[in-house]
Amino acid sequence: MFYREAGDFKTSYADDSQTFPIAFDRYRYYFVLAVGLGIIPFVITDYWASAILIPFLIYAIAAIGLNILTGYCGQVSLGTGGFMAVGAYTSYKLMTAFPWMDMVTITLLSGAMTAMVGVMFGLPSLRIKGFYLAVATLAAQFFLVWLFNKVPWFYNYSASGQITAPERLLFGHAVTGPNAEAWVKYLFCFAFVFVLAWVARNLTRGAIGRQWMAIRDMDIAAEIIGVNPLRAKLSAFAVSSFYVGIAGALLFTVYLGAVEVGEAYGIQKSFLVLFMIIIGGLGSLFGSFAGAAFMVLLPVALKVLLVDTMGWDTALATHFQFVIVGGLIMFFLIVEPHGLARLWSLAKEKLRLWPFPH
């Protein structure tokens, strides 16, 4: 009834090609922004920030990054954890070497450094594809983790090999370190998510995004119609790694504060982000957010439900979490192999016809 194009007239090309052409969608988007900026920062608690919102925002960036590479450009990557580690260790080195540098610059530089590393490990993608490329990026994962363990310069020769984020201020408020307040950390991540998602949306529907999708759909055909595979694939690796690096940097500086590479950025992190985009939906920005929310929120929600509300034994609840999360993943993939994003768009299709489906 409310959700339909009818009567929503466009009078310019800009209006016609906007991200949310349907008025209701647009209002919903503004509503989410308004809640995210106008309400949540004032009511956020430490628990909500540290356990739910900040990890969700950070993993959303990582999922968008991987989605650009895998969902839009069709290059499978299992090196996400390693690339996140590059972002984290770049931030750490920059934070300790240049204490005057502000966190925005540090985070962006960490992304840039990761983009360079990503391009380097993306070179094999020009010759190999599919599973073979997955194995090559898997090598990146293991190599990078090994490197950050092996070379003490990366962790400033500390006894334990842990890196710890020192306190850094932004506009007079601590963003990192134990004294950072929940709303500052939240807004910092929110700003990054907003800008990066906005950039990703416009990249993917512009010329370069179309090149990526052409490569994904059939690389030989794309080459014949004039897409340069070198440029398309390497730019996908660069942009994707930039996002993933920023996510890794934020995970270390804002969220965890102290990190050990093998534990925080191991192979399981690569799989986690890959699951996020598979469940959320390949080649969809909404899917990146939905997948991140699913993988971050579900374990916490189950814990709250099973342990805190129903009073189950913690070990039993944790085991059941695996069963339930695994079961839900299978359920979603059987019912809708294209992920939550597809379910969402199906729901929207239905809404357009409601209340008079034919």
């Binding site: 300790t96 006894a159 842990q162 710890t164």
Partner: protein, 426 residues
């Protein structure tokens, strides 16, 4: 077990903060590759508090409430557990994970909640002038490394010159901690030190043991945890490495580590921070907790190495709470008071005897400057059927670890922007 936890948790929810109680969070791990080590510790930790509630009505008349939170030895889950429980009046955190400890040191200090990392965590937290809210009595990794070398010195007539020693360690903050001390000791005593890292969780150790077989080091020192321990012991047996020269630290000397190898593992040695064997307190736990159906686990872990250690950890926490009650004259203490109690904690043989655990740990007194205890450890050996205590408490070489602690804590203070407090003034 499920029924009990249900009642405990349900009771925990019914008990709103209006009732006075002492809340001890238990960041346990009963799932994942480290569950074998985490489960008995958590059982011991919870059962002792249950015993206090059942027998004495709590600590100083105030009942104890234990809130369990599963971390699976994962730092992100650990942070979630910390944030979920800290607002509930948590008195002291004992995460039983060096990785989670590193996360919690700045957070807990900022929130004013003490952190007790007995025999693990950040070693330089011994320096109370820098780490105001972190305690690691009765010992730490550097003491442990030093005790190991002292034992070997003793066995080799006071000289390790020309010997080769390999450190086989879990490739994490936990395993890397002793390296600095061992390097200093190696320079001092003239032995060569080889480092062999095993990636977490440690089920894959073929390469490392191949290297040990090739190099045949005189001694292998072992920093393992969870599933890694039994794999290492099996591998040592497979390559016929003389097991009495394979020495585990106090996290690698539990019953389940050697049980699967059984007789074949006879001779394997490990240090321990607490004494083993039968103690009067076990009979009381059996009577008041297990027979009453209130045990945290299924009751089979009673008296095992890590169960005893978990119980010891709970006892130290309970004694610190009691000390805090005495200092402040308040029964329902706050985390800040708990911190004062931990800093004033003094364990004497008489006190341990009266608690039904005679000589369970070394005597020590915590002070403002020294949060580390004595660092003494006993040597135990697996006979094939049980752990046999070989020695009394052995002292570490403080002249080696002392300067390292000062150096590392100064580096942390500089990095984190902490001005060390002066303990001599007040």
């Amino acid at each position: 077990m499920k029924k009990l936890l249900t009642t405990v948790a349900a009771g925990a929810m019914l008990t709103s903060p209006a009732f006075a109680d002492l809340m001890f969070p238990d960041l346990s791990y009963r799932t994942g590759p480290f569950a074998a080590s985490g489960t008995p510790f958590s059982d011991g930790y919870q059962d002792y508090f249950t015993l206090l509630n059942q027998r004495d009505g709590g600590i100083g008349g105030v009942p104890v409430r234990v809130v369990e939170c599963e971390t699976a030895y994962n730092t992100e889950r650990g942070v979630e557990c910390y944030e979920a429980t800290k607002g509930d009046g948590a008195l002291v955190y004992q995460p039983l994970s060096t990785g989670i400890t590193y996360q919690l040191i700045p957070r807990a200090t900022a929130d004013g909640i003490p952190l007790h990392t007995m025999g693990y965590g950040r070693t330089s937290a011994v320096n109370g002038e820098v780490f105001s809210h972190v305690f690691n009595y009765p010992g730490n990794y550097w003491d442990l490394a030093s005790v190991m070398i002292n034992v070997l010195l003793d066995e080799n007539g006071g000289s390790l010159n020309g010997k080769s020693i390999t450190l086989l360690y879990h490739n994490s903050a936990y395993g890397r901690e002793p390296i600095r001390t061992l390097e200093a000791l190696s320079a001092q005593h003239g032995f060569t030190l080889n480092l062999l890292a095993v990636d977490s969780p440690g089920q894959e150790q073929g390469n490392q043991w191949l290297q040990i077989r090739r190099e045949r080091p005189d001694y292998v020192l072992f920093w393992g945890w969870g599933v890694m321990n039994q794999v290492a012991i099996q591998e040592a047996i497979n390559i016929r490495y003389p097991l009495e020269n394979f020495i585990g630290n106090w996290w690698a000397g539990a019953d389940h580590d050697v049980a699967s190898a059984g007789q074949a593992a006879a001779g394997y040695r490990a240090l321990n921070m607490n004494r083993l064997g039968d103690m009067p307190v076990f009979a009381e736990i059996q009577q008041h907790v297990i027979d009453a159906g209130l045990a945290a686990g299924d009751g089979t872990n009673l008296g095992l190495v890590l169960y005893t250690r978990g119980m010891y950890a709970a006892m130290l926490a309970a004694e610190a709470a009691r000390t805090a009650q005495e200092i402040h004259g308040v029964a329902d203490i706050t985390p800040a008071m708990m911190r004062d109690g931990m800093e004033a904690l003094e364990m004497t043989n008489a006190r341990m005897e009266s608690l039904g655990m005679p000589m369970i740990g070394p005597e020590f007194a915590v002070s403002c400057a020294d949060h580390g205890g004595t660092g003494r450890a006993i040597m135990t050996q697996w006979s094939g059927t049980e752990w046999v205590t070989l020695t009394d408490f052995i002292a570490p070489d403080d002249s080696v670890t002392g300067p390292l602690v000062l150096e590392d804590s100064a580096a942390y203070a500089a990095e984190a922007g902490i001005t060390p407090r002066n303990c001599n003034e007040s």
